[in-house]
């Protein structure tokens, strides 16, 4: 079954009489428990697709269906139980004056879920942080620990779908490895569906089963993991991204 179906999606921003077409006629479909990657340069519209799913971008055409159902114009509380997002920069995405405990407990309070204490402790343990971290503020954590908290927050409502917007690009290589391993483990344990954005082909290749290469708001080419590893891309742009990828040297 397709968990995420996007057909002919267009997003247009309007400012000062200008029109910026961030996404133009992109279609994709992600099956249940699949991990799907979006790659491209900045400005290619990959993050805008994630934001459009969450209702945070002005959709001007096309449809988005989650679990077979069209999304309501305003995303409701039920939506956040199905879909959650992890943002790129853990320094900006956690409230600086809320303790970790408050950050993690807030979605529970909004949705009237009880047993807050036990759930917060379990959420922290699940992402490999000691329970005592509840009482800390974001500035008392390292970048990798913050991103773990951001992942724990996204999982508080037990969603089936995680939208990951460059979840490791702000982290050191060694910390990136730990966070990628954590995401992989959580996906296997909970049967999550991932839609992941990254500019790093090697990261996307490690995490995803299928990949969509984007440029200037349009879909350029869809690749299976095997096609990417075997360098069997059809378009010149996908090949240039592949060739520019830093790990080619050590290939």
């Amino acid at each position: 079954m397709a968990m995420i179906e996007i057909e002919n999606l267009s997003v247009t921003f309007r400012a000062k009489g200008h029109e910026v077409r961030a996404v133009e006629g992109v279609s994709l479909s992600v099956s249940e428990r699949e991990s799907y990657g979006l790659v491209g340069e900045s400005g290619s519209g990959k993050s805008t697709i994630l934001r459009a799913i969450c209702g945070m971008a002005p959709v001007t055409g096309g449809t988005i269906r989650i679990g077979g159902k069209a999304l309501p114009a305003r995303r409701d509380k039920a939506f956040s139980r199905h879909v959650q997002m992890v943002f790129q920069d853990p320094y900006a995405s956690l409230h600086p004056r809320h303790t970790i405990d408050r950050t993690l407990a807030e979605p529970l309070a909004i949705h009237g879920i009880r047993n807050t204490d036990a759930r917060v402790v379990k959420a922290l343990t699940d992402v490999g942080l000691p329970p005592a971290f509840r009482f800390r503020y974001p500035h008392q954590l390292s970048g990798g620990q913050r991103q773990r908290v951001a992942i724990a927050r996204a999982l508080m409502l037990e969603p089936e779908i995680l939208l990951l917007d460059e979840p490791t690009s702000a982290l050191d290589a060694s910390v990136q490895a730990e966070v990628l391993n954590l995401l992989d483990r959580l996906r296997a344990e909970r049967g999550l569906t991932f839609l992941m954005v990254s500019h790093d082909l090697a990261v996307i290749d490690h995490m995803c089963d299928r990949i969509l290469v984007m440029q200037h708001g349009r879909a350029v080419e869809e690749l299976s993991r095997e096609a990417l590893a075997g360098a069997r891309m059809q378009t010149a742009y996908a090949r240039s991204l592949f060739d520019a990828s830093a790990d080619r040297l050590l290939g």
């Binding site: 340069e41 970048g143 050191d172 290589a173 490690h206």
Partner: protein, 280 residues
């Protein structure tokens, strides 16, 4: 060939309420007119090493070194006035993030010509021509338009190129580039690196390239210093990086995902070896 930069036993210490924090603990290296990479994780002291060369560390930070010579001049003994004469003019530095390193309320043209007009006393028209030439040198297609733009109107890649252009106008002998490409897309990254590469070859400039990306550094530099907790743990010729002996260097290499690599969990960096304890 005499070394352009010679650093012996460099130490950077921050005195804090809870005691001294040693950011750099005895780093020695020398640099000719070549590309030297410094690699390490956050907090390994690589940025502090780069900033020390320009003596850009504010109190409570302290810089100590047995020797720090740039082109024969003793940087440790130089006064503020002498350092100011070196900074920018003979030793340039490109910072990591154009968002924070450019002046947000000054347009690009004013920022590029400020040094020329104030320091070199060059007239407005000539300074403008030099600035436009520098923007062209870093492959900016419409330099006239960029000259009138403010930093927030530029993309990350453009901002980074503006900073490189700014550093290149005085034609320094040594350029310290601190993560100059980590905010950029891979294709733009490749362009910026080739610009730097050309400048090293054409102008015979020395380059210190600081980065956390071991693969990138090895592709681009001649020699690589690997830092951990303020010390150099290994020095390797970039082309022999895959034969690196030190467990930390190997750990840094292995924890990166590879296209077509296996699907198992990535090896995490093991910091429990004896080599890690001795620096603790």
């Amino acid at each position: 060939m005499t070394a352009l930069l010679d650093v012996q036993n460099l130490r950077v210490t921050f005195d804090t309420e809870t005691g001294p924090v040693h950011a750099v603990r005895g780093v020695s290296f020398s640099l000719g007119r070549e590309r030297l990479g410094i690699v390490g994780e956050s907090g390994s002291g690589k940025t502090m090493t780069g900033r020390s060369v320009l003596r850009l560390i504010r109190p409570p930070g302290r810089i100590e070194a047995d020797r720090m010579l740039f082109d024969g001049q003793d940087l440790m003994a130089a006064g503020e006035r002498e350092m100011r004469a070196l900074r920018g003019k003979r030793i340039g530095m490109v910072m990591q993030d154009p968002k924070y390193s450019l002046n947000p309320v000054m347009n690009v043209g004013e920022q590029l010509t400020e040094g020329l007009r104030r320091r070199d006393r060059i007239g407005r028209a000539e300074a403008r021509d030099k600035a436009i030439a520098a923007l062209e040198a870093v492959q900016i297609r419409s330099p006239e338009r960029v000259m009138t733009a403010f930093p927030h109107e530029l993309s990350g890649g453009m901002g980074q190129r503006v900073m490189i252009a700014m550093m290149l106008i005085p034609e320094p002998d040594l350029l310290i580039a601190d993560e100059p490409t980590s905010a950029l897309d891979v294709t733009v990254q490749a362009e910026v690196l080739s610009i730097l590469d050309r400048l090293v070859r054409d102008r015979g400039m020395g380059l210190i390239f600081i980065s956390h990306d071991l693969r990138l550094v090895s592709r681009f530099c001649d020699r690589v210093l690997v830092m951990f907790k303020g010390k150099i743990v290994e020095e390797v010729a970039a082309k022999n990086l895959l034969q690196a002996k030190h467990p930390y260097t190997q750990g840094l290499l292995n924890c990166l995902p590879r296209i077509g690599g296996p699907r198992e969990p990535l090896p995490s960096l093991d910091r429990s070896g004896d080599w890690a304890k001795e620096t603790a």
